[in-house]
């Protein structure tokens, strides 16, 4: 007897017997996780060469970053007096600390690559064309958010690499027209990278930017799902 035919299974899945394709679709619709997906896609979307699976790769890396990032948060205090020592403690005394930090670091670099490559693949496929223009725009925002998340995280170890990379990266904020120095003050919390910067970057990195990222990602995936059935031939869709 299958699990979903038992009383408990029925209460969990609430789907009818999956004999016909229509039943399968109903089961798909009533599943919380599967509701991120369309019920059907065009056959060509299954081929590796269509997408190189770079979108799903980016999502998987985001998942890896959330899990490893939450673990690191347990052992890290964003203050210049403790941050560096916390990283050393994570690497030497925390269970799997060095490994989890490595996972977080390499997943972050890979995600920047994956998201950028995803954008290029979508461009060459022409998948930004009407009526998907706005999902491309959301994708560009997600790319910018990915870079910002990576950049804010770069400062947190508070070593020479982090400190000076962020000093270089933010030095250009001075040249933003009109607001100029103001933009830099808001970003750094002072006139140079210091305790206020570390706290700001930390809050951006673990709260604000991830929330924006997940929110926009939901819209991105929702639009992808809605558009999955569109005709994808030259001049297809509505003329």
């Amino acid at each position: 007897m299958k699990l979903r035919e038992t009383t408990i299974g029925r209460s969990l899945f609430r789907s009818p017997d999956r004999e016909t394709e229509r039943d399968q679709a109903a089961g798909h619709w009533s599943n919380f996780l599967l509701h991120l997906y369309p019920v059907k896609v065009r056959r060509r979307e299954l081929h590796f060469s269509f997408s190189w699976y770079l979108g799903v790769t980016s999502v998987v890396l985001l998942g890896s970053l959330v899990v490893s990032g939450v673990y690191l948060m347990f052992f890290y205090v964003p203050s210049p007096s403790s941050a560096y020592g916390d990283i050393q403690t994570i690497q030497t005394q925390v269970a799997f600390g060095q490994f989890i930090r490595n996972v977080h670091r390499w997943s972050a670099h890979l995600m920047v690559l994956a998201v950028a490559a995803h954008m290029a693949r979508v461009f060459y496929r022409g998948a930004y064309k009407s009526p998907r223009e706005f999902n491309w725009v959301i994708g560009v925002m997600l790319l910018v958010l990915t870079l910002l998340l990576s950049f804010t995280g770069y400062l947190l170890p508070w070593d020479q690499l982090a400190y000076w990379a962020v000093t270089v990266g933010t030095s250009m904020a001075d040249f933003v027209p009109i607001i100029g120095g103001g933009a830099r003050d808001v970003l750094l919390g002072s006139d140079q990278v210091g305790a206020a910067t570390l706290l700001r970057f930390y809050v951006l990195h673990v709260a604000l930017l991830p929330l924006l990222m997940v929110g926009l990602l939901m819209v991105h995936l929702w639009r992808w799902r809605k558009d999955a059935m569109l005709d994808q031939t030259d001049g297809g869709g509505e003329a």
């Binding site: 798909h28 019920v39 065009r42 670091r105 890979l110 022409g126 990379a165």
Partner: protein, 173 residues
């Protein structure tokens, strides 16, 4: 009639066998525009991709430790002073142009141009040969960007001078 009756196949009674081919040919030729069920066809592929990506991350994380230099010191500027690799192209531009251009106008134009792209390119063609201008423009920018990133990341040393990465390595991840 029992289940062993040769005229019963998979619980159904065979009324007759017609020689020859079915009218639509032996097998339906799958069309690329056909709709297929996401579960299982796309889901199994995504599962394989997810496991592959996680395996790759696991292997890299076991083999290579994330870098950690000395504690931050505002009074000791390293030479070269490098931005993260994904900003290396901007930093390379910064060494050639005024910061207003390299730090504000160029990144602003890139993000603005990417956002505007689907509203500028209104053609409905999907094949590369029918959209030469769009493909050529995008490819040019992509190649320039990749080259600038590589230069800034691996080919720049002390005082942002040119180095060969196989002689001196200054790339930081």
């Amino acid at each position: 009639m029992s289940d062993l009756d040769p005229r019963v196949v998979q619980g159904r009674r065979v009324l007759g066998v017609v020689p020859g081919q079915p009218p639509g040919g032996d097998r339906k030729v799958p069309d690329e525009q056909d709709l297929v069920m996401v579960s299982p066809h796309l889901l199994v592929r995504h599962a394989v991709v997810a496991l592959t990506v996680l395996l790759l991350v696991l292997i890299v994380a076991v083999l290579f430790d994330a870098p950690l230099r000395e504690v931050a010191n505002p009074f000791e500027t390293p030479n070269p002073e490098k931005a993260p690799w994904y900003f290396a192209a901007l930093q390379e531009l910064l060494s050639h142009f005024h910061p207003m251009v390299a730090g504000v106008l160029v990144p602003g134009a890139i993000v603005g141009g990417l956002i505007a792209l689907p509203y500028i390119d209104r053609s409905r063609a999907l094949q590369p040969r029918l959209r030469k201008v769009a493909v050529a423009t995008f490819t040019t920018f992509l190649v320039v960007w990749v080259v600038l990133t590589l230069i800034g990341f691996a080919f720049r040393g002390p005082n942002w001078g040119w180095v060969w990465p196989w002689n001196e390595w200054h790339g930081e991840l």
